[in-house]
């Protein structure tokens, strides 16, 4: 018997790996020193732990430890990257290019800068969720100071062609930031091979603790300078003041080390489980649709629309499984997912979408259970769905005049 409830929402967060917790424990207990204390053993031990963590993080992405700035997480990393470049290079230009499917931490930061007089280009994506590289080339002007395009999307798992985007940025002399929060530790990610200048990471997305993240900031060819968004004691080479979160950094480092060592094996296994889930659902249910490119995709991600079944009611039926929905009803905004909308998924299908995020601790037995439950509940709710009934009668739902008033 599988143990319930099943957690399959690993894009939202991941559990802390027990090996990560073991590494952190000493720094939550006896070795509590401040890494900035230069005159006693407690401080030295803390500093040493921080430097080891920094190296482990750097190794995961092919960077130098001196290029790693510790932050409180991905939102801060994204803010520091975009605002830091915008403020530092204001003399050089005022134009930033990003993309409509970015995380809110990028989109809202850009909108904030727009109010302050910067010009932002929000590139569209195609129906697979991919940015058109020609659109990108055409958007670059001599006033462009930053391109910020995420590596892998948090909803649909689509992986952009980061290497090519980096190459374009490099050729045009524009800095390139990527939000690599969903990608790091899941797929090969190397800042030099991919021409990345700045990259955001978050520990809790790859089995580390919440509340700690990192920003990779290139030191040479080109050397990237950032204006800090948090001022204070001048920690992290002046780019991010604040006492270092030593246990968090140790956890982030350990999580990065495990991810690097196990990436190949783990991503192959996640891909196998994801494909089993996908093919089972597609075999047993009609009118299901994959959202986003199936090939250029994170191995553990499946985002699927179950036509004629509203997402929240589906989640209610599979309440022993933790997944998430792109339906409006599950969010405070009452708007369906802006990411699915950007892919051209109609609002009717966006309401029926479910995101499965398979992770390190999911088993094949769990995947089988999830598939079985989803099939059962979708069938039950379709028996209850007037839309399914109409579709089966051959009525084109698009031609129906829908009146919201009775």
């Amino acid at each position: 018997m599988v143990k319930l409830p099943i957690y399959m929402d690993n894009h939202a967060t991941t559990p802390v790996d027990p090996r990560v917790l073991d590494a952190m424990m000493p720094y939550l207990t006896n070795q509590f020193g401040n890494a900035a204390s230069r005159n006693h053993q407690f401080g030295w031990e803390a500093e040493q732990a921080v430097e080891q963590g920094r190296k482990q993080i750097a190794d995961l992405i092919g960077a130098d430890p001196r290029e790693i700035v510790i932050t409180s997480g991905a939102t801060e990393s994204d803010n520091l990257a975009v605002k830091g470049v915008a403020w530092m290079y204001r003399e050089k230009g005022d134009h930033i290019i990003t993309c409509v499917t970015e995380h809110k931490a990028i989109l809202d930061t850009c909108k904030h800068l727009e109010k302050d007089g910067y010009r932002i280009t929000f590139l569209p994506v195609d129906n697979k969720g991919l940015v058109d590289l020609d659109d990108l080339r055409k958007a670059i002007t001599d006033k462009t100071i930053l391109i910020s395009i995420m590596t892998a999307n948090n909803e649909v798992g689509v992986v952009q062609d980061i290497k090519e985007i980096g190459k374009i940025a490099r050729e045009r002399g524009v800095l390139f930031h990527t939000d690599a929060v969903q990608a790091a530790g899941k797929i090969p990610f190397n800042v030099n091979e991919m021409n990345v200048d700045i990259a955001s990471l978050s520990a809790h997305k790859f089995y580390g603790p919440k509340g700690v993240g990192a920003l990779y900031v290139r030191r040479r060819n080109p050397r990237v300078l950032l204006t800090p968004i948090i001022d204070g004691g001048g920690h992290e080479r002046g780019m991010r003041s604040g006492t270092l979160n030593v246990p968090g950094i140790v956890g982030l480092g350990k999580a990065a080390q495990i991810a690097r060592e196990e990436l190949q094996k783990e991503s192959a296994e996640l891909f196998r489980l994801r494909e089993k889930l996908r093919t089972t659902l597609e075999r047993e249910l009609d009118e299901v649709y994959i959202n986003g490119d199936l090939v250029k995709r994170l191995p553990g991600n499946l985002n699927m629309s179950f036509a004629y079944v509203e997402g929240e009611s589906l989640l209610m039926g599979i309440n022993d499984i933790a997944v998430s929905s792109g339906s409006a009803c599950t969010s405070a905004s009452l708007e369906p997912s802006y990411v699915l909308k950007a892919l051209g998924v109609g609002e009717d299908l966006a309401h029926t979408s479910i995101r499965f995020g398979i992770g390190r601790f999911n088993t094949e037995e769990e995947v089988d259970y999830v598939a079985g439950r989803v099939i059962e509940v979708v069938r039950r709710l379709r028996d209850l769905s007037p839309l399914y009934e109409m579709a089966k009668e051959g009525i084109d739902l698009k031609s129906v005049h829908w009146a919201t008033e009775g």
Binding site: E310, S313, S327, L334, E347, D383, L387, G406
Partner: protein, 131 residues
């Protein structure tokens, strides 16, 4: 979001799911909502022409658990009522019975609309037949 026990009960055991023949002159059909809004309700009533009593009611709903529960409850309530009585059912009664939170009030409004739409449809058929 936490659901009330009554919403969960209607969701797990929806009452009166199904369809009546739209062509039947004694049947009124109400179809309200829109797929883009995430809620569509179809509510049907079978009415005794002499007594104007609703003898049967069926529904199908595309929507969240609260929408399913609201329409399921609506079919329970209209059965055995006259058309005039059914028209007096207010969405606030549904909100109260199911303990719907503020963000789900639109589900109850839709259920009230569905009842009214079904009755309007029946009356229209009835008037046409009388001519």
């Amino acid at each position: 979001m936490a659901y009330s026990d009554k919403v969960i009960d209607h969701y797990n055991n929806p009452r009166n799911v199904g369809a009546l023949s739209k062509e039947d002159p004694t049947v009124g059909t109400g179809l309200v909502g829109a797929p883009e809004c995430g809620d569509v309700m179809k509510l049907q009533i079978k009415v005794n022409e002499q007594t104007q009593v609703i003898e049967d009611a069926k529904f199908k709903t595309f929507g969240c658990g609260s929408a399913i529960a609201s329409s399921s409850l609506a079919t329970e309530w209209v059965k055995g009522k006259t058309l005039a009585e059914a028209l007096s059912i207010k969405n606030t009664d549904i909100v109260k019975e199911l303990s719907l939170p503020p963000v789900k009030i639109h589900c109850s409004v839709l259920a009230e609309d569905a009842i009214k739409a079904a009755i309007t449809d029946w009356k229209k058929k009835h008037d046409d037949n009388g001519k």
